[in-house]
Subunit: 355 residues, 4 copies
């Protein structure tokens, strides 16, 4: 429920306005020297442009000795400091539209209404920490996600300008596209453990995610088969090593150190020319084919509007409230690093399980 | 890997041209009298229009006594009869484009090349059996999925006519939309166990699935917050019972019988008027809000083309082959019942876990 | 690995001489008001007579509001204060006999040698916290464990007197017997999920545990069937309600509150007269029969001897060392509360899963 | 519940007098050529001296091609042939003492009373099949279990003679001791995943198991520390390779083939001289130290007595019945191969997870 992963496992905890958020990473191999700066960089990406600006001071409680992993659980804590819980007093007995207030109340019979409690996106800070470690673990595999910018995208600079002006009027969503390179072929599981299914689950677990597609995605539904199929690249035969050989060289051969040094020596130049297009997004039958893994995640707009909204009260009535907590106008730029984090944990898990 | 679910668990087995396919359902409550006709009906829906026409003769090996569940594992087997394995001989040492031939070979070092082996959609027959049982278990909850028909959809009648004519030229994909009604509010888990995340994983595990979206999905990415948010229905206050009361009455109160009789007495009329729109698809923060659950699944076109295609050989060359196995031109109408089956298993699992 | 349980789940972390030990409890129902005093009492029992006397100051990081559970993960931390890590310097490159130094080094390639690191019994403090909460959850079910005292048991008072005298001579083990009363019949799972198997696993996971037996245990191996079998109590028929009725009244009927109030209204007087003896320890076929659950756990002696011992060095030699860390002479009296904690978590898990 | 293992997973099904018993093995690596004769031999060991003599005709439904594993689920079925269900008619509404009749009824509200249904030891046939495959997977690791014979053991030949004579009088239990050799050091998990805890759970899941101990077990509870501790063997330093080196050579280095060929090249002669005694049974802190793994399992006597017994009726009364099904007088000789099977699955699982 609050645990993600099979072998590289993250368990998170923490309410938005409680004492702290954090997590335990279980299953991280021993003897990995952590790059703390890289973790801080990802945390900073998650904070970019946020109205609630906390420094995210990480405290490592266990699992490390002199910055090197012991193989034991890595526990970390980030204290909540910049909370203005009194902003949320009016919400104690009513439910905002678009939020999880009502559903949490239905499920648990009570909730911490301050700042969204457990349902707040504050929780993703723990994912970013674990994801930053997972990235280091799988290092030759590279993950890059970013918000797509198109004609229909909001001009966030303009949005922010208007907000500074007091003239804000609305919120926005968007799409994050993600690309994973350097992953060898043969990673994944068939049937219910498909790599695509795990990525879908990981991405849809991010707050505000509302859609997921691999490769060309929904557009494939209206293509013809002859257009859709990714054809083999005919220059493969020229100097290609036998495919089986490619695979063997990619296999983990050591334990107790980062996967990065020896385990994933893929041949990206070769693999990434396997097919002439990549409509399937690099996964066939749930298993990677060595091409880049490509997928997109749709996020709905921020559900805290700047204007007053009608809230549902516990006795079934409506009450108009101006929600005064600090909320972004568009969370998608910040979501990109969370997409990367979840992808990194998925890949780390498969690589550890598929050793 | 080959197991789906936490408490209502299906483990499947079987290669397309092996001796049999089937599964074990573990965690089905005792004392449920199975409606065998309903199971046969769903199996027939999965076969509709298929070129490989097997009767899907189910043999129940355990877990039932006089058609009533014992609470012990329900094992079932469906023998493969209508196999023409010799059609696949040319594929023993080469990999079709668009299929999982190459990735299975990379992962396992060998494969059963006949009819796609384990990667064949033949495997979904076990899902349909388990899904048909799950539907009975959650009976007041209704699940309906169907292929969407639009201007861009293929006219399958015409396709079929051309195929009969020998004039076929291409294959098609499509979109299945699914709607779950009668599910009470408060079902789901937060964070990594979100109902939406589980549905995404379940759907993306279906062969040929390439995209998933809740509610209004990708369209939400370009909406403004004020357009997107589902407003509370203001007629709720009129005669609404306290929401907490609604929930209590929906809770399971007996064990050892189908969930249907007493456990899910939702108040659909009331719940389904909770919000004025349902852009979020009935799930907030990973937990159902009592509105219908609505989602869509995109399927790419059938990857076995009627015309000859270039296959990759084990030594890295290309070979042009005419694949002679029997393959549909569009699998999406048949996929609808598989979507229902997976949805039913997800819902059954949550209801059993959330009792 | 560092997680215990299915639905009531404890994940622990922490090295003996690291910054902190602690854990996350996931799956505890909401709306349970915790008795903090009871938790402190169990922590004090775990400390009784220990040479390392830390106050075990608990900090609750999440999952509670005003002392009531939210249904979200309960994270807690206990800082390590009374560490004398320098005592362990000589152990950096050699392995004590009887300890896990060598096996941890083999598994992880490195270890935190200070105070036993993760392998230290210090880790059990997190179990005691979670167990104390589990006990409250299952309240009408009572769990009592204690060290058995027999002619062959060490006189710990005398041991302690000699130790104070500087005249230490040796260390001791012992047996903890445990009795669980008030558990209704029908709790457990068959085959691999037997209640007896889960209890065995839970108990053997406690540091220094070396044996486990249900009921009459090893003695049963040399009994005849006619002596062993627990005969039905013939006074049952007098005023017995139908057994099915007994069961129904024991079933959970509410969610979101402690199990204690309504869920486990067993009829101990009746159930505990079910059979005339209880050689099987209250479990048949892996499922409780309503009689008290009775089992015993054997603990080997403390493996840190007061006298100098030969340690294995990393290069395969031997080195005689006097281990100067503070170590008990007999850990068994302190282990009783850990046995209770593990038993309580097992029972809480089954009751939540079997709702 | 009916699934055992994490990566090498067995799910079993089947009632004693139903159509069939069997299972699905998921997670067995690909490219393992199965020795079918070895599987039959273990099945024959399980049948030895049994009154119910079925040939255990195995049908393999999936996962194999030409006797080689595909990496996909291996499903197998054994039809029940030699059933005399009418023997059990009197048991439809009453519960034998010592059996799981009553507890199954309490848990499920109904049961298949014929031959013990799912609770029958008939279920262990699936364990033996999976265990025989696991043994082949871990081949250099050897597992041997047998019934201990002592002065207090029953003379089974004499028992059998009396039975043939019509002069039967009672049933017996006994102890199985098991020894695993060739397992390298460093295998296992700490805290809740201790190898000793998993073995305990596996063994206590066998029908009639009532006690488990590692190494010297319960006897350790009354030893002094100086007697108990296993001292390092001082001849280790002579020609010992560095311990780390020993470990590296034992690590898996290939995937997709049996573990046997390359993965477990232990150095038993060296490892098995690590300590001068083996009181701990080869496991420290939950992790193997390279010495033989040694444990014992106590089985209570067969609970079906040859003489009439008083059964509990559904309405709380007692009824004297002569149980006429065919039952062994002592199941322990047959249990040895089940102990081996469970041990082999535990070891295979750890080796696959710890790769």
């Amino acid at each position: 429920m609050n645990t993600f992963g099979t072998k590289f496992r993250l368990t998170t905890y923490g309410e938005s306005h409680g004492l702290a958020v954090g997590g335990i990473i279980d299953g991280c191999p021993s003897q990995v020297r952590l790059d703390m700066e890289a973790i801080r960089t990802d945390l900073a990406r998650r904070r970019q442009g946020a109205l609630r600006q906390e420094e995210d001071e990480l405290e490592w409680l266990s699992g490390l000795k002199d910055g090197v992993t012991l193989g034991t659980p890595i526990a970390f804590t980030i204290r909540n400091k910049d909370t203005r819980s009194e902003d949320y007093d009016p919400l104690a007995d009513c439910y905002r539209p678009g939020h999880a207030d009502y559903t949490y109340q239905q499920k648990y019979g009570l909730r911490d209404h301050r700042g969204g409690g457990r349902a707040s996106a504050r929780e993703t800070v723990a994912r970013v920490v674990a994801g930053a470690i997972a990235k280091q673990l799988i290092a030759p595999v590279q993950i890059h996600a970013e918000m797509e910018v198109s004609n229909s995208s909001p001009d966030l600079g303009e949005v922010d300008a208007r907000r500074a002006d007091g003239g804000v009027c609305d919120t926005h969503g968007g799409i994050v596209s993600c690309r994973i390179t350097g992953l060898p072929a043969g990673i994944g599981e068939p049937i219910f453990g498909k790599l695509s299914a795990q990525l879908a689950s990981a991405m849809m677990s991010i707050p505000s995610a509302i859609g997921f597609e691999m490769g060309i995605g929904f557009a494939a539904a209206s293509m013809k088969g002859s257009e859709y199929i990714d054809r083999w690249n005919d220059c493969l035969s020229k100097d290609a090593p036998a495919t089986q050989t490619i695979k063997q060289s990619n296999l983990p051969d050591r334990k107790g150190t980062a996967l990065s040094t020896a385990e994933i020596k893929s041949n990206p130049a070769k693999n990434q020319a396997l097919t002439m297009t990549n409509h399937c997004g690099g996964i066939q039958g749930g298993i990677s084919n060595g091409m880049p893994i490509e997928f997109r995640v749709a996020f709905h707009p921020v559900v805290t509007l700047p204007q007053p909204v009608e809230c549902l009260t516990a006795d079934g009535g409506l009450r108009t409230l101006q929600i005064s907590g600090r909320h972004d106008r568009c969370q998608v730029p910040r979501a990109a690093v969370v997409v990367e984090a979840m992808a990194a944990m998925v890949i780390a898990d498969y690589l550890l399980v598929n050793r």
